[in-house]
Symmetry: C2
Subunit: 249 residues, 2 copies
DNA sequence: CTATTACCTTGATCTCGATCAAGGTAATAA
DNA sequence: TTATTACCTTGATCGAGATCAAGGTAATAG
C-alpha cells in the first residue's frame, strides 16, 4: 500500500485502487485501507444517466474515479439549478442520511468506486479520524456552496462564466499537475446546458458570454469544449473574486 | 440537568443555561454537560455590530441564545450576499477551522453563549457522539445552502420573498410552539436591506414584492416588521417549492 | 451518401428586477 | 417643539439577461 501526495490536497492516493478517495485516504492506516479494499466495488454510468434520483433511498457511498457528475434540484415546473459538481476524487453520498435530497447525474461517462453504506459507516464509527475527515470535507462543501451563493446572488453573467472556468481550470491543474507557464489549457467537461444549470443562466447567455470572453482575448476556444487561457490572472480578474489568488504553488 | 424536547428538532434544551445548543445537547451526557457548563461564557452584541470579520482568526465557538445574526460575503465593489442566517439555538463557528470565511453580523441585539475553541474541541475529540452531531449539523447547513442556491439561481423575486417568509415562520413556530389554526403571526427579524442581501435582490424590489403579497392577500402587514399569514399553504405555494410540505406536526 | 440528432451560436425582442429619484414614517436627539 | 437619522414605500426609467427564432456543426445511423 503506497500513498502518493496530490498537489494542494490533503488526501492521498490509494495505490491499490488507483483512486484518490478524499474521504478515506488522508487519515486511514493500512489496516483500515485493507478493510475498505475488501468491500469496494466499481460502477460505471453513461453520459446523461441518472446515478441517484432525488428522494430515492441510497445505500452506497463512494468516490468519483473518473468523469464528472452533477448534483441538481428541480422545481415542479422544470426550472433546474445545479447545486454541486463532482469531479474525480470527490465523495458521493451522505454519511448518516438515508435519502438523497437531489439528483446525481453523470455529465459524461462516470466511474464510481463505491462501498456499501452499513459497512462503510461501521468503519467510520470505529475510526474517529475518519469521522473528523468527513466533517472537514463537509465544511469544504459548505464553503463551496456559499461561495456559489455569492455568485448566484450577485455576480454578472460574465463573472459567472469566468468563475466557472477558474474552478474547472483549478481542478484540472490539480489533477494533471499543469504548470501555469504560458497559459493553461483544459477541457470543459460540461455542456452549455449543464453550465447554464450551474450558473443560474440560460444556454444562450452562457454561449454569448463565452463568445464575449473570447472576443476580449481572455480565453481562446480551440473548439466548443476546449479552452486555452493565455493569462490566468486576467481570467481571475474577470471572475470578480478576490478569494484564493494563487492556489497553484 | 433536565432536558426538554423541542418541536421537530433532534436536540434538547440545556436546562442549566436555558439555551438550546443544537450541537452539544442532542447527544451529550451529564458529565459532558457539566464540563461545558464550567467553560461557557456569554457575550452580547448590538444591532449592526460585527461579531466576526471575514478573514479574522476566531478562537470561540458557541450558540446563538437570542437575536439574529447573519453570515455574509462581500465583493470588493461592495456587492454583498448573505450566505446564512443564525437564529436562536444555531451553532456559531467552525470546528477545526482557524479563520472565518465570512462576516458574522448581528441583525439585532444578539446574545451568544460561547466556549473557547481549544477546550470545546478537546471535548469533541473525547466525545465521538459529539463529533457525529457536528457532522450532522453541517450536513443540515449544507442542505440549507443548496436549497438557497436553487432560490438564488432560479426563483422569481416574489417566490424568494415567500420562501424567506416560510423559513422565518417555520423557525418562529418551532421556537414558540405556535399552532397553525387560523393563521400565523410573526415578526420579521431583518431589515429590508438584510432581506435583500439574503435574497439577492435590491431593497426596492423586496419592498415592492412584500406590498404585492399584501395586495394579493397572502400576507397581512400589521406594520413593516410584523406579518400575519392567514393561509400558510397559500404562502408555501407562492414559494414555488414542494419541499417540506408540513413541518408542523 | 443523406438523414437524424444533439449541441452550439447568433440575432431580435421582451421583461423582470435594477437604478434613479422623491417622499413618508417613527424614533431619538437637540 | 423641531431636527436628525434610519428605515420603508412608491414611481419612472433603464438595462442585463430571458425568450423567441433561425441557422450552423459534427457525430452517428440508415
Amino acid at each position: 500500500m503506497k500513498h502518493a501526495p496530490l498537489i494542494a490536497q490533503n488526501h492521498m492516493r490509494c495505490a491499490d485502487c488507483a483512486i484518490r478517495h478524499k474521504a478515506v485516504c488522508a487519515y486511514c492506516e493500512p489496516p483500515e485501507l485493507a478493510k475498505l479494499d475488501a468491500m469496494k466495488s466499481y460502477r460505471t454510468f453513461q453520459a446523461g444517466e441518472t446515478i441517484v434520483w432525488a428522494g430515492e433511498e441510497v445505500d452506497v457511498l463512494g468516490s468519483v474515479v473518473s468523469g464528472v457528475a452533477t448534483l441538481s434540484r428541480t422545481l415542479q415546473d422544470g426550472r433546474r439549478q445545479m447545486v454541486g459538481l463532482l469531479l474525480p476524487s470527490d465523495f458521493v453520498g451522505r454519511p448518516g442520511r438515508r435519502k438523497a435530497p437531489y439528483d446525481v447525474v453523470a455529465a459524461n461517462e462516470v466511474m464510481i468506486c463505491q462501498f456499501l453504506k452499513p459497512k462503510f459507516e461501521a468503519l467510520v464509527s470505529a475510526t474517529p479520524a475518519l469521522e473528523r475527515r468527513l466533517l472537514d470535507m463537509t465544511l469544504d462543501e459548505l464553503d463551496a456552496a456559499r461561495e456559489w451563493m455569492l455568485l448566484l446572488g450577485r455576480k454578472t453573467a460574465r463573472e459567472r462564466i469566468a468563475s466557472l472556468l477558474v474552478i474547472i481550470a483549478r481542478r484540472d491543474a490539480a489533477l494533471s499537475s499543469t504548470t501555469v507557464g504560458d497559459g493553461l489549457r483544459f477541457a470543459l467537461p460540461l455542456t452549455r446546458e449543464a453550465m447554464s444549470d450551474y450558473l443560474g443562466l440560460t444556454i444562450e447567455t452562457v454561449s454569448r458570454q463565452i463568445s464575449a470572453l473570447k472576443k476580449s482575448g481572455i480565453i481562446i476556444l480551440e473548439d466548443s469544449r476546449h479552452v486555452r487561457v493565455p493569462d490566468y490572472v486576467a481570467l481571475l480578474d474577470e471572475a470578480g473574486d478576490d478569494s484564493d489568488g494563487g492556489f497553484i504553488s
